[in-house]
């Protein structure tokens, strides 16, 4: 029988702590209702050791969680709570996360592998800001009054909370992705059943504890760690879930949308994969462009949906730039997340590790040239060093297939602006894109032409909580996160036509 909490030891920081390992429903940690012996085993990707086990939720557990969320929505949340109250609670939650940032960062690093300092200062730092940003929206959800006929009718819209939301989040930024989902949903008055990734559920469970501590009523946020094919599928197909939000692979995104269509036509938002390109033009600051290019594909060890995994360099500066790029990429130290020297951690799991190596092998096999990396490390841990391929073409898997999701970059060349744009857009994805140029008009032309939901000019990868984020094409055209735009995902518009002066003659 799965226990409801466990003690883990983090050797690197000499910390012992109790982590909740049950399912979080109605502000309490409980065992599975019908499969108490199903467990999820969590692995430290730097050492391959087991960290602990958590309860695995079943379809029945999802039912119970949805019922709890529905009850809360009808009684203590939804329209029963004011925006001011929601704002206060979200701010309190942000304060608690700030209080516990070190512990949360340590567990995030232990479970996901990313460097501790990055987890704390970036993942959690951004998370705190994100929740505060949405706390500020909670009392500002306004509808419109619309002039129809001043003598007889008052017409206005209410932006109601949409209801019970299923949220399915990935393993690459467990805490940050949790905040991106929870923030706007709670701000709008929705209740949540959250399914964290089965690879990295620990911090979601710790955050659930803070939800209770902050004072959210029971049932407002529920957390069910489970396999995607169990919990994720159950949420997408649930007849009493009003909306499902998913971040993950395009393959799974399709399944979520299908299940939503087949069940109750619930609202869907998807943030999926990418094969994002960067273009380096001859007028660019090459030093800076090389830095941003490295950040683009190596940050989070390439496990980023917007990873700039394809790079196209203008002919005239190709040789100079590539040698600059290689020398910079070499400087990144991939290692244990608790080692001060590590700029990046291991990949999150064996599955991901094997997948990335298959891509690297395919690159070689299909004739690309390895100019950096490409060597497997001996010993424990899912470490992959920065790997750069040149002499690529559009038929290679490393260029055209799905996202590699590792520190692997494919570098190509182009002559004209048109050719660059064409190469960049030659993908069924459209999540991010970057361009580097000092020609202002070129920057505007190219940023207009790139088919991506986020285009970075002379930068890459950096987001802001108040700027919308999402994809075009198969990266998830359905919905946007961040900024005021995320509120649309959690709002359902009701138009009210209030007649106060028109009499109807009958029959017409």
């Amino acid at each position: 029988m799965a226990s409801l909490s466990t003690r883990i030891v983090i050797r690197a920081t000499n910390r012992e702590l109790d982590i909740p390992t049950g399912l979080f429903i109605n502000n309490e940690f409980v065992p599975s209702a019908d499969s108490p012996n199903d467990l999820i085993h969590l692995v430290n990707p730097a050492t391959e050791e087991t960290i602990c086990t958590v309860a695995a939720g079943s379809v029945k557990d999802i039912d119970i969680a949805v019922a709890a969320a529905r009850k809360a929505f009808n009684t203590t949340w939804g329209k029963n709570v004011t925006g001011f109250e929601r704002s206060k609670l979200l701010n309190k939650l942000a304060d608690l996360i700030e209080r516990d940032q070190d512990i949360l960062a340590e567990v995030e690093s232990l479970n996901n592998g990313k460097p501790f300092k990055i987890a704390r200062d970036f993942d959690i730092g951004d998370t705190i800001q994100c929740l505060r940003y949405y706390a500020g929206w909670a009392d500002k959800i306004t509808g419109q009054t619309i002039e129809v006929d001043n003598k007889t009718k008052l017409a206005f819209t209410r932006h109601d909370p949409i209801g019970v939301c299923g949220q399915i989040i990935p393993w690459n930024y467990p805490i940050n992705m949790w905040a991106w989902k929870v923030g706007p949903a709670l701000a709008c008055g929705c209740t949540i059943v959250m399914k964290p990734s089965e690879l990295t559920p620990l911090t979601a469970l710790m955050l659930s504890k803070l939800i209770a501590e902050a004072g959210f009523p029971p049932g407002v946020v529920n957390t069910i760690p489970s396999l995607g094919s169990v919990g994720g599928a159950a949420l997408s197909a649930h007849m009493d879930v009003d909306k499902v939000a998913f971040t993950g692979s395009t393959v799974t995104g399709r399944k979520v949308m299908e299940a939503a269509a087949k069940s109750n036509l619930k609202k869907v938002s998807l943030e999926l994969g990418g094969k994002s390109p960067q273009l380096v033009f001859e007028s660019a600051d090459l030093e800076q462009a090389a830095n941003w290019a490295c950040l683009g594909v190596l940050y989070n060890t390439g496990q980023d949906c917007t990873a700039g995994s394809r790079l196209y360099v203008q002919d005239t500066i190709y040789d100079k730039f590539v040698s600059l790029l290689v020398s910079k990429a070499k400087e990144l130290v991939i290692g244990d997340g608790f080692d001060e020297k590590s700029g990046g951690g291991p990949l999150v799991s064996k599955t991901q590790f094997d997948k990335v190596w298959r891509y690297i092998e395919s690159g070689r096999a299909q004739g690309a040239k390895v100019v950096l990396g490409g060597q497997k490390r001996p010993g424990k841990g899912f470490f992959v060093d920065p790997t750069i391929f040149t002499d690529i073409n559009a038929n290679m898997d490393i260029v055209s297939a799905k996202a590699i999701f590792g520190p692997v970059l494919a570098v190509g060349r182009f002559k004209t602006e048109e050719e660059g744009i064409s190469l960049a857009n030659d993908t069924s994805y459209g999540l991010g894109a970057g361009l580097h140029s000092n020609d202002a008009n070129q920057c505007m032309r190219v940023s207009s032409a790139l088919e991506a939901g986020t285009v970075w000019v002379n930068q890459y990868n950096l987001l802001n909580n108040n700027v919308p984020f999402g994809g075009k094409k198969q990266s998830g055209i359905v919905g946007r996160e961040l900024g005021s735009y995320a509120l649309d995902e959690y709002t359902s518009v009701k138009a009210i036509h209030w007649n106060f002066g028109e009499k109807l003659d009958w029959p017409l």
Binding site: F84, Y133, K140, N441
Partner: protein, 500 residues
């Protein structure tokens, strides 16, 4: 050296010793006024001096404007991103929450309103307001407009710069929050003049502003008189915007001064003579309760006071009987006693003014049904007063009294009352009591007022716009509407290829 105000509060609701510096707050420091003069702060329950605060002069306004400009050009304005402004404002909220009882006690001591009202409405409302605007600070967005493919056009919503704010004595802390909230959220720096009658909570807020960590010069507060300090602000060549809440008479002066100086942007929230209309089918008990709240809350010192109460023929007698009964039961006295409803008027000047309106009503032949005289022999207490038998030409019907004095008028029907209700230079608020929703909406829509209350009066929310029609004011406060007052819109046209 500016004096330190020390006071021992010893009321059941609040027992503490309070002590703080009372100088002008310029560039993060408390300093003497340039002329080294002071203004006495009077306790309105007994006319005695509580303390004195430094008096600001036009020279001090110059110093404050310099400090505000320096802060705007270096540490505030567009140099501090919205998210950072939001954090500082949230810190201020936390400090206000921590010191809520003290702020309420200071307000009650200085203004005369009861501690309970101060705590539950003034202080609570101020906290909500600043929290609300802290949330807007990182959400000031412009637009991108579609023109042609060879052009990028967008608008920036920039802070205006140094803004002047002049606030009244009826809700000292709340009016400060309504002003600095949106101004700071949008990135402006502030030169604020509280009323010379009620400076204490504004000065206490300056200490909290320092404690919260706002850069020096972002908020500057000058206690001083309207015709010197206030006038210096409205006519200052380096203040780009002035916001004023107070009487219509002074509002005119401010607008004139703005026009004569540098055409600064002006928003005004002025007086009112708001009608409270009660139809035959109103829930009588509720209508009476709200009518009491409408005119006697805050001692009638509310710009939206429902001072003209129109009651339809059919329920007039019943309403009158219950209204009188309820009015009789109101307790007047010590603001710190837990069951007091009404304290003193804020000052001797106000007291005299209200008493003279009462005399004019009597002289014009109106009937005093209750009150109409001073309460007690100490301080500025006036008994809740109801006049009947009035006609529209009387001063007590046309002019804003700003005291616990109302006129009760019988009316026939909808058309009749809407005409009477709109027969005023003012247009701040109006209230309608009826169970017939069609009539409620129709009437509310036809009343020329910036706020129409249906089955309530004097009900405010930080996120709902507030302001007047006609001579009750220009511009709106609260909600996102207030942001427009503190934003300068710049349109940027980027030519991408159109050759000339």
């Amino acid at each position: 050296m500016p004096s330190t105000f020390t006071h021992e509060f010893n009321a059941p609701a609040f027992k503490a010793k309070v002590s703080f510096n009372t100088g002008l707050f310029i560039n993060g420091q408390f300093v003497d006024g340039s002329d080294n003069t002071t203004i006495d702060v009077i306790n309105p329950t007994n006319g005695k001096v509580i303390t004195s605060v430094s008096e600001g002069t036009p020279k001090d306004v110059d110093l404050a404007v310099d400090a505000a400009h320096a802060a705007f050009d270096t540490a505030w304005g567009l140099h501090t991103p919205g998210a950072q402004r939001s954090i500082l404002m949230s810190k201020l909220v936390a400090l206000m929450e921590k010191n809520a009882d003290e702020l309420a006690a200071l307000e009650a001591l200085d203004n005369g309103k009861t501690f309970n009202w101060a705590r539950n409405i003034d202080v609570a409302g101020s906290i909500d307001c600043i929290r609300y605007y802290a949330g807007w600070a990182d959400k000031i967005t412009g637009q991108v407009q579609e023109t042609t493919e060879d052009k990028l056009t967008y608008s920036r919503h920039e802070p205006i710069g140094v803004v002047g704010q002049i606030i009244p004595w009826n809700f000292p802390l709340l009016m400060m929050a309504w002003k600095i909230g949106p101004a700071l959220a949008c990135g402006n720096t502030v030169v604020l003049k509280p009323s010379e009658f009620t400076p204490l909570t504004a000065i206490r807020m300056c200490h909290l502003i320092n404690e919260a960590g706002f850069p020096p010069g972002v908020v500057n507060v000058l206690t001083g008189y309207g015709n010197t300090t206030g006038n210096a602000i409205s006519s200052h060549m380096r203040i780009e915007k002035v916001a004023f809440t107070g009487s219509t008479i002074v509002g005119r002066k401010i607008m004139e001064a703005a026009a004569r100086s540098n055409l600064k942007n002006v928003t005004l929230e002025l007086g009112g003579k708001s009608p409270n209309i009660i139809f035959d089918d109103a829930d009588i008990e509720q209508a009476v309760n709200w009518a009491i709240f409408g005119i006697f809350w805050n001692h009638g010192q509310t710009c939206t006071a429902g001072s003209r109460i129109f009651v339809q023929e059919g329920i007039y007698d019943e309403f009158f009987k219950r209204f009188m009964e309820k009015t009789r039961s109101l307790k007047i006295g010590d603001p710190f006693a837990p069951d007091t409803f009404q304290g003193p008027q804020v000052s001797e000047i106000q007291f005299n003014r209200i008493m003279s309106y009462i005399e004019s009503g009597k002289a014009a032949g109106a009937k005093v049904e209750i009150g109409g005289e001073r309460h007690g022999s100490e301080g500025y207490f006036i008994k809740p007063t109801i006049f009947t038998n009035v006609d529209p030409s009387m001063k007590i019907v046309q002019e804003e009294i700003f005291g616990p004095v109302c006129v009760l008028i019988k009316f026939k029907d909808e058309e009749d009352v809407i005409k009477q209700a709109n027969d005023t230079l003012y247009g701040l608020a109006a209230a309608v009591f009826t169970q017939d929703l069609n009539r409620a909406l129709n009437t509310a829509h036809r009343l020329k007022a910036g706020t129409a209350w249906i089955n309530c009066v004097n009900s405010f929310n930080s996120n709902v716009p507030f302001g007047g029609f006609k001579q009750s004011g220009i511009g709106r406060e609260c909600g996102d509407y207030a942001l427009t007052n503190y934003t300068a819109v710049k349109a940027v046209h980027v030519n991408l290829g159109h050759k000339m």
